[in-house]
């Protein structure tokens, strides 16, 4: 599975949706993921990709990790993975 598909699978599970309902343009808000769901998604992504995401739940928008939509999350993960490699 591509990074994109794996992220979509995680987010779809969190949103209790079918992966086909999650698109790169979807925002977490669109998908009905609240703040707890966001923290849980970040955790699941860290576990899935074995990375550490610079995310502070106090100020999600000021974190060094863009969560504005699914595509941005995927880009952020790719960057973290390339830094790790």
């Amino acid at each position: 599975m591509s990074i994109n598909d794996r992220v979509i699978a995680i987010i779809a599970e969190q949103a209790v949706l079918d992966p086909s309902d999650v698109t790169p343009e979807s925002t977490l808000e669109d998908l009905g993921i609240d703040s707890l769901g966001l923290v849980e998604s970040i955790f699941a992504i860290e576990e899935e990709f074995d990375i550490s995401i610079p995310f502070n739940a106090n100020e999600p928008s000021k974190s060094d990790f863009d969560i504005s939509n699914v595509a941005a999350i995927v880009t952020g993960i790719e960057k973290l993975m390339s830094e790790k490699a």
């Binding site: 209790v16 707890l36 769901g37 923290v39 849980e40 970040i42 955790f43 860290e46 576990e47 550490s52």
Partner: protein, 402 residues
Amino acid sequence: MKRVVITGVGTINSLGHSVPETLEAMREGRCGIGELEFRDVDRLAIKIGGQVRGFEAKGRFNRQQMSLYDRFTQFTLAAAKEAITQSGLTFNGDLAARSGVVLGTAGGGVSTWDDNYRSVYEDGKNRVHPFVVPKLMNNAAASHLSMEYNLKGPSFTVSTACASSNHAMAQALAMVRSGMAPVIVTGGSESMLCFGGVKAWEGLRVMSKDACRPFSANRNGMVQGEGAGVFVFEEYEHAKARGADILCEVIGSAMSSDASDIVMPSKQGAARAISGALRDARLNPEDVAYINAHGTGTAANDKTECAAVADVFGKHADNLMISSTKSMHGHLIGGTGAVELLACIMALRDGVIAPTIGYEEPDPECALDVVPNEARQAKVDVALSNAFAFGGMNAVLALRKV
């Protein structure tokens, strides 16, 4: 001062997943204690306990709830559902704004601590699930109960080891009596039956390897249990006005502190709690027909408790019945007083006294009528429930038939 009645009861414990199942097991003197089943149990010296079996959280709770509910919260919600359904109450408007939740637990989310310590220490992981803290906190069960039923008044968790539930219910009584709240959902819950939970208790060397035999001369210690008991404490006029089925009245309570030793019980401390409850309920000793004992099955507790009862009741101590249902469901630690209150309610409503099972040899230091091995029919108008905790904190409740 307002009168306080119980209009709903619920439980889950090793004897049953509901009040009817539990009371049937108590009537039949059935034992819910057996071989423990969980990871690493082979590394324990103590391998028995009153474990809740056949309880599937999946299906009962959704995925999000599962990630937030420790087993002690799951037990609480299962018991609360039974109790609040029976009460017939729904919480809206002013009733919701003023009603609350007061629950007891000694350890809170013990298996959440255990699982996550194992993960970071033993498995060397450097990341834990984001909900570890809200899952393990001692007030998690009370919080989820308040959220589930829209209880917006005073809510909190009481933690006094083995007396937690009784302290919680004594507090609930005080709050409804005073008019602070028309309804308090109360009781307690515990789930310590995991490797770390039992290992910690093992360290004290007070656990039995084979059975809980309260008051029996050959008793050799306590046996842990798990589960929850939840009660709807409601102001009498409120219950009457809505035509509720009133199960019994909570007529008094007392709390005392031994102020002496962190683990050894004190006869004086226990006696002060018992006599305090009689005074609070305006009872004469002769009014009490049944006491649900703390009766842990340890050498120290049982003889101290019997001596305290003898001191408070004098001659009447020989006429009353005192049994320990821990022999059947084990010691639910912070949840124990809640499950044990069910035996008092059965005595008042059904005239059935739950037995002390596993009783094999009389002990001259426990020479009271402990209702050995078989349940008994008897008319009971007033019952007491004792709880005497580590740390010397005691709480006794008094109930009356209505």
